[in-house]
């Protein structure tokens, strides 16, 4: 099955040919990277369980004109190595790409293994571009586009088990910094990112049965955020917004959208945010955890009904 995770390896192995300065680094997370490792062993670096050194080494490579990709589990890359990401990579604006899994309540590893604060942390960093992707084909496209970027980028994935191809190749223009209207609608907009896009599309399909026309926006770039699209959706869907995400409800996409709304003085009729509350979430399968913590399919449908009904 095509998963976002497997696409990392195939895409990097492909790009290794075009870019002889592309390096791949990992702190002992490499199953998906074997294609690159086998093809370019001299540009593959596994430092073992040492996230801080891994990001620092990547920065050292980038200072010397290389394009390093660090791949690993995001809870550790985004938090244990946060200072290296901030001071070694973002401060000198080096083209280091951080790509990883376990964004959100996924993988049933418990709270040590869920990256749920990562988008808030990464969006806070000057020079960092921040993305969250659920569609495997998009992962390849974003990695390819990122190769010519000057500064750093963070690419967040879930775990790959339940990844769905959402868009046919060529169906949407995929451009870093631009949101995708995954489904058209006029009554309300659901903004989301990552694997939750599939859930939002299911919610919109369900709501259509009751005659509701719900737009779904895949805001896969959280920073820089697509301000124009937010303004456009406010104008075209009655100022009715639902934001759903597999991240803390505060600090992620909902906060990014709220900032744009406040800064630009956009008039909204209703605004609801669904995401992880300030709890350590515990064990369970992805959907069970989303339901338990109030941002699953049923909650998304209910929230959308409420914003549509709002006066």
């Amino acid at each position: 099955m095509l998963s976002a995770r497997s696409v990392i390896g195939t895409t990097l192995a492909e790009l290794g040919e075009d870019y002889d300065n592309l390096w791949v680094l990992t702190p002992d997370i490499g199953a998906t990277l074997v294609e690159f490792r086998d093809k370019y062993p001299e540009r593959f670096v596994d430092v073992g369980l040492a996230e801080q050194a891994c990001v620092g080494v990547a920065a050292g490579l980038a200072y010397d004109g290389n394009i390093p990709v660090v791949s690993g589990m995001l809870p550790f890359l985004s938090m244990r190595a946060l200072e290296q990401v901030r001071s070694d990579v973002c401060y000198p604006n080096l083209p280091v790409k951080i790509i990883g899994t376990h964004g959100g309540l996924v993988g049933n590893g418990g709270s040590t293994h869920y990256a749920v604060e990562d988008l808030a942390l990464m969006c806070a960093l000057t020079n960092m571009t921040v993305t969250s992707i659920g569609d495997p084909l998009m992962v390849g496209e974003v990695i390819r586009q990122s190769m010519t970027m000057q500064g750093p980028i963070y690419i967040r994935l879930a775990v790959g088990k339940k990844d769905k191809v959402l868009y046919e190749p060529g169906e949407h223009e995929i451009r870093i910094g631009k949101g995708i209207i995954a489904r058209q609608g006029t009554d309300a907009t659901i903004f989301t990112h990552g694997t939750v896009v599939a859930q939002a599309l299911d919610a919109a399909a369900e709501l259509a049965k009751d005659g509701h026309s719900v737009r779904v926006v895949d805001m896969f770039t959280l920073k820089p955020i697509d301000e124009e699209l937010i303004a456009q959706c406010a104008a075209e869907t009655g100022g009715r917004f639902v934001i759903v995400e597999d991240h803390l409800a505060y600090g992620g996409l909902a906060s990014r959208v709220a900032d744009v709304v406040a800064d630009r003085g956009i008039h909204l009729t209703a605004f609801e945010r669904l995401g992880i509350p300030q709890v350590y979430a515990g064990f369970g399968e992805d959907e069970e955890l989303r339901d338990k913590h109030g941002y699953g399919l049923a909650a998304t449908i209910a929230a959308t009904q409420r914003v549509i009904a709002a006066a």
Partner: protein, 287 residues
């Protein structure tokens, strides 16, 4: 790894180190804020030996791919590095003294690659230089280049876990083109390190991590030159650490091994006193 254009004798290098210390004190007396003078003075001989003897660098061609890379991991000794570099011709000393720490100056408390492209990396937070150096050494290896990557760390800094992560990586990747100098002044900011944090047996630790260990007096210019000249070839398979025994505040008696002088500023009277102490120390050593 040699300053071949303008080779210096040990005595000339000692004179340059004295000049570096004098300029450091002068800046410390001119700038109103605090300068990390203690750790600057302990690093002064090492930085003189590197910039005037050891490093193959060209101040007129700072992006030359064959240059040795130098990273100041103990970024708080930035002033000492700026001045050592100015004496090699990278920057103007007056430019440093006249603008240090001021708004929009390229010269501040910790080196910034964006504002001052002549330095190799932005550093300051401790424990970051060695991982960066490992990346640069890997890059050199990948391109088949024979330059060295050299970093200077403080011994207190090696309390950071990231140093040992990088030490393991350097050993695993057999980076003989990587050299770490350690300013072993045995002081942290608030304590003497063998009182609170036990780093000993220090050279054994590095040897256990697979490094080639050289242990010298970091204020003995002859020993520094010898250690640099005896470095293994850059295509060898073991990284080298040069543990330099030093004295924080070296050369100014009232600052030596004095916790009050981790960082500080000098008024006019203090500056005269410090200059006199530096001169006295030099005369004592030359006897």
């Amino acid at each position: 790894m040699q300053n071949t254009e303008n080779p210096h004798t040990v005595e000339e290098l000692e004179n340059l180190a004295f000049e570096l210390r004098s300029k450091l004190l002068h800046l410390c007396g001119t700038y109103e804020g605090a300068v990390h003078i203690g750790g600057d003075l302990s690093s002064a001989d090492i930085l003189t030996a590197l910039f005037h003897h050891g490093l193959h660098v060209d101040p007129t061609d700072i992006a030359n791919p064959t240059r040795d890379r130098f990273l100041l991991s103990k970024g708080h000794a930035a002033v000492c590095m700026y001045i050592a570099m100015s004496m090699r011709g990278f920057f103007s000393y007056d430019g440093i003294v006249d603008t240090y720490g001021q708004l929009d100056s390229a010269y501040g408390m910790h080196p910034c690659k964006v504002q001052l492209p002549g330095v190799e990396a932005s550093t300051g937070s401790l424990g970051h230089g060695l991982p960066l150096a490992v990346g640069m050494a890997l890059s050199a290896r990948g391109r088949g280049e024979s330059h060295r990557v050299v970093t200077l760390m403080g011994d207190g800094e090696t309390g950071e876990g990231s140093v040992w992560e990088a030490a393991m990586a350097a050993n695993s990747y057999e980076l003989g083109n990587l050299v770490a100098f350690i300013d072993r002044n045995r002081q942290l900011m608030t304590s003497f390190d063998e009182e609170r944090v036990f780093l000993e047996p220090y050279t054994d630790k590095w040897a256990a991590f697979g490094w080639n260990v050289v242990h010298i007096d970091g204020h003995d210019m002859g020993a520094l030159v010898q250690a640099i000249d005896a470095l293994p070839a850059s295509d060898s398979r073991k990284p080298t650490v040069v543990v330099c025994e030093t004295v924080k505040g070296k050369g100014v008696d009232f600052m030596e091994r004095n916790l009050a002088w981790h960082a500080g500023s000098l008024g006019a009277a203090d500056l005269d006193r410090a200059m006199a102490a530096l001169q006295a120390s030099r005369e004592k050593e030359s006897v």
